[in-house]
Amino acid sequence: MAETRSTCPYCGVGCGVLVSPAGAVRGDPEHPANRGRLCSKGTALGETLDQPGRLLHPEVDGRRASWDAALDAVAEGFRGALAEHGPAGVALYVSGQLLTEDYFAANKFAKGFLGTGNIDSNSRLCMASAVAGHRRAFGEDIVPGIYEDLELADLVVLVGSNLAWCHPVLFQRLQAARAARPEMRVVVVDPRRTATCEGADLHLPLAPGSDVALFNGLLRHLHASGRRSEAAGLDAALAAAGGGTGGETGIDPALLTTFFAWFAATPRTVTLFSQGANQSSSGTDKANAIINCHLLTGSIGQPGAGPFSVTGQPNAMGGREVGALATTLAGHLDWDNPAEVEALRGFWQAPSLAAGPGLKAVELFQAAGEGRIGALWIMATNPAVSLPDAAAVRAAMRRVPCLVVSECVRESDTVDLARIRLPALGWGEKEGTVTNSERVISRQRGFRPAPGEARPDWWAVAEVAARLGWGEAFAWEGPAAIFREHAAVTALARPAARAFDLSGLAGLTDADYGTLPPTRWPVARPGEAGGRLSPPARFVATPSRPPAHATSPAYPLRLLTGRLRDQWHSMTRTGAVPRLMAHSPEPVAAINPADAAGLTDGGLARVASAWGSAVLRLRHDPAVARGAVFVPMHWTDRFAPAARINAAVNPAVDPHSGQPELKHTPVRVEPVGMAWHGFALARRPLGTALANWTALLPAADGVWRHELGGLEAPAEAFARLRVLLEEPDAAWVVLEDPAAGLHRAALLRDGRLLACLFLDPAPALPARDWLVGLFADARIGSDARRALLAGAPADGPAPSPTICVCHGIAAAGICRAIAAGADTLALVGEATRAGTGCGSCKPEIAALLVAQRIPEPA
């Protein structure tokens, strides 16, 4: 059987994949986004297919229900809420994980028939600011460039983007282009020295949230050096840029001068921006400040040039296209244009079409918290974890009488709160399209049977609509029919010249849809393919202003949240893959050592804001800017209840986009004293309540790692935990040094390791990798058994973190190879295989190469 051609479900790069019947995944050499490349997450897709914990049948009030009964309950819930609150009291909260067809159905249901603007997407957290910026500058949500521009550019400026980790395949394309054209320059604008900075020509460590000041300064510099534009709004933009020269950014003036000079002198400049820019109370202004500079240099839509927003999710763009955001209508139609609203009302036969925008994500949950939402349907997202002020969000969900969640997994922080649970299809099961960050529409194709009673989300929407009396408008036979309707909607704007035009795809047959190759819009006529866009644009005045909440003596540090290389969102998919967990296996807060007085490296620390707090392991990391704390946003109740950082994140939003300010919350960091630190390794998960602080992580096939911190006496904890780990017919190896507070034990049966338990008053415990590896042995060797409680073999190298997850290569092995003379990435790859898989770890290998470089003799 041939491989199935599909699209990766992770980030907004939208890589094509080929899946073998056995589930092996490789990059699609013919897909324009990746041309065969994949990152660590995509490479491990095959390992996520047989996910444990799938939701297999509908549930109502905690009990299994038939689809009929569940759909009836949803319809009843919405009918009741409409009756009680009107259209303002019902809502959908959907996701960039949805396929365009699901998205379209949900949006049509909400805006067309429930008559509410209250459908927002978790894309609100991702690139709503870019959308708002595009609409202000171009009159429409348009990404002018294409990925190839990153390769054609002479200067690439990465703003608020850890491209190496978050869009690894784009980063690989960029690196390959630089290798071919070493004169190409890369500038990284980021408060953190991320992996993306490895090999960059310039890193501008700006103060968090000061991007507008930086690009205002650049605009003034460009203008001062003679750049002029006929586009509207330049004078106002210059006036708003003020007299500042970028001092608010805190960047060394010499670096600023270099950056400005490079930008001014390089016609082929791409400025790529992502969540670091968007997730801000001035995110929309950041987008416009960037666009302003490109508008002044006339470089929008030119080969190798222009502003370039990249999205976080696989189908954030699809959601923008169908209009499944509270602020947009459908198909880039404009609420402000009565003719377009009428056209849609007629096309859909939807007399109660929503009159205007609805509640944006943060507002929506605030309304729910105030009891103003009677029915809320959440699809494919985990707001209990991902929204700011997360404790308030959880409370809000509990207040919604009819909370419906469509999900793949049976348990998540959000599913746990739902009254009605609907089993959704996952990647590899569902059929539809996604659009990536360069406007390329690609098919996701199913190659696995639906598990249990799981059904497509569009089907569930259509069934509920039918129960509410709107069946005719939702009588699609399948996703192809929905796609045709979606494409047809884009034509309703005519005669207005709208860039987003899929008219040429509105007549696709089911067969055409089945074989649809990756297609970039606009496609006004059949057979066309879109390219770069040069929309008419205007300057937008973007006065620089500080983040919504300032630091203070009580909360002197700035919290930035972000991603880990090998994890995705709330980890419901990636968290179950041990080798993806190997890269960053613990909830960690990173802080500059200079800000860490009184905070032990490796100790536990509370990151507290005025809104809430989280407790994480603290790492001293010089890559983090002074005054900042970096915390990954992935951790959930499933893995580390204490480490959910969004509990501490402020709910401030951008006034234009409503995007939350996830990259700037004033916090303080205080040590959390523990009587002991420890870990337990076992062949079964023991939950997240083992100790005062617990993180539960899958460590290798069937082995679970529990990272622990406790307040009771170590000896007491040791005895208590040993009882929990106990197995029949098994024997302990025990090390006890009560005076030092050190307690260690391993449980074995017939030489097979069943569990390990290590407690220590200090967080300096042995690395877990070697012990985890021993679980694979049917019978561990005599030497290993003697060394078990030392946590490392006598002659082994000091355990070190895993760098290359594809081949399981740790830092120590790479350093040995470098010491032995492998002084390039290629040689390290030959010697150790590290970096020869997906390549996502190359920046970290490069950093090791730099760190270990032996100075030439003077």
Partner: protein
């Protein structure tokens, strides 16, 4: 110069050999009470267990002694020392003159003063004759009781069990070998010996030997009677000091010696189990041999002093290696315990002020030297305390 060594045990024989080597012009006489040639007393357990022959235990064949110029006098118990005449008097009245005398009379096994202790079937466990008596008794099978769960008692028990007897060890303390082992290691050893069919009554004390014409059992203080056709007493040793005391030499628990192993009489040295140095007596062969070397050098006119090392005991009981050194008293909780019961490995390290002061190793004694060095040198272990129980291979001290 006439050199006389009284006692042909390991210490006495070693001293005689060294004297003959250092002072070839002198006449060295080695007088032993037993009839046998010098033999390895420590290996008597092998003889009992059937793992060695009597011939195999001989350490110094007659030809070897003759070749060194040593006159060996077996079966020559000494009755008295006439210091005024510088002569030793044998039980047969023969007088052996000396210029320098070395007392290596060792010790005798203690026979408990119990009712029935003199009955046939009650034996001690000290020399070759004792082993012969035990072997004769074991040939008939049946039950045996060993009184005393120290090293010797356990060796006797293991040997008798190997010979097919049903053995019970009666021991006064709650675990065997309490001088070398802590309770946990003792429990491991108890379990191991139990697998060999050896039973333990402990803590228990014997109040009498049952039997009219010969021993038939042992009565314990709780009233129980353990049937036994053979009763072995292995409850300790008593230094053999009668000769020295009657000769007027100062005697405490044993014969008082200085650092050169000299008694109050500069012509007389004492070594081994019959000597007391700085208030302490030894009971193991290794320091006894060191003392023999010291005495020989002193007599040869070389300035020297015996420096006792941390007391350590490396033993092999029933195939299980056991080692201990230093202070192993169980009081105080500053100790590190590493145990793998299923593999019968156990380590207990006692610390004081960040230094190692005592160690018990059970099952795996390969790292004994490392720990003995740490105890002796009093080096701080603070920098590697967490890996200390895993041995030197794991210790990576900062340079």
């Amino acid at each position: 110069m006439r050199l006389l060594v009284i006692g042909a045990g390991p210490a006495g024989t070693r001293c005689a050999v060294r004297l003959a080597e250092r002072l070839p012009a002198s006449a060295v006489t080695l007088a032993g009470a037993e009839a046998a040639l010098p033999y390895d007393r420590v290996a008597l357990s092998k003889l009992l267990a059937g793992d060695a022959t009597m011939e195999g235990l001989i350490t110094h064949p007659l030809a070897l002694l003759r070749g060194l110029g040593i006159v060996y006098r077996p079966a020559t118990p000494i009755a008295a020392i006439d210091r005024a005449a510088s002569e030793a008097v044998t039980t047969r009245g023969e007088r052996l003159g000396y210029d320098r005398l070395v007392l290596a009379t060792g010790s005798s096994a203690i026979r408990l003063p119990l009712p029935g202790a003199a009955l046939p079937g009650v034996v001690l466990y000290r020399d070759m004759d004792d082993v012969r008596a035990m072997l004769r008794a074991a040939a008939g099978g049946g039950a045996a009781v060993v009184i005393g769960g120290g090293l010797l008692g356990l060796e006797a028990a293991v040997g008798l069990a190997a010979r097919g007897m049903k053995v019970t060890v009666v021991h006064a303390v709650g675990w065997p070998m309490e001088r070398q082992l802590d309770p946990a290691a003792g429990a491991l050893l108890t379990r191991r010996l139990g697998l060999r069919g050896i039973h333990f009554a402990m803590p228990a004390s014997t109040v009498g030997i049952e039997g009219d014409t010969r021993a038939t059992g042992v009565r314990l203080s709780d009233g129980r009677v353990v049937p036994a056709s053979l009763v072995v007493m292995a409850v300790g040793i008593r230094p053999s000091v009668a000769l020295a005391r009657e000769a007027g030499l100062p005697v405490g628990r044993a014969i008082t010696v200085d650092d050169a192993m000299r008694t109050a009489d500069p012509a007389i040295h004492a070594i081994g189990e019959c000597a007391e140095h700085q208030g302490r007596c030894i009971g193991l062969v290794a320091p006894a041999l060191e003392q023999a070397e010291i005495a020989a050098r002193a007599i040869a006119g070389v300035a020297c002093a015996w420096a006792p090392r941390a007391e350590s005991a490396a033993l092999k009981v029933s195939g299980t290696a056991v080692w201990s050194a230093g202070d192993i008293a169980t009081a105080g909780d500053d100790c590190i315990v590493l145990r793998d019961d299923a593999e019968e490995r156990y380590r207990r390290l006692s610390l004081r002020d960040g230094r190692l002061v005592g160690a018990v190793l059970y099952g795996d004694t390969a790292d004994a030297g490392f720990y003995l060095d740490l105890i002796t040198s009093r080096r701080s272990v603070a920098g590697f305390r967490s890996v200390l129980p895993f041995g030197p291979a794991f210790v990576r001290e900062a340079a």
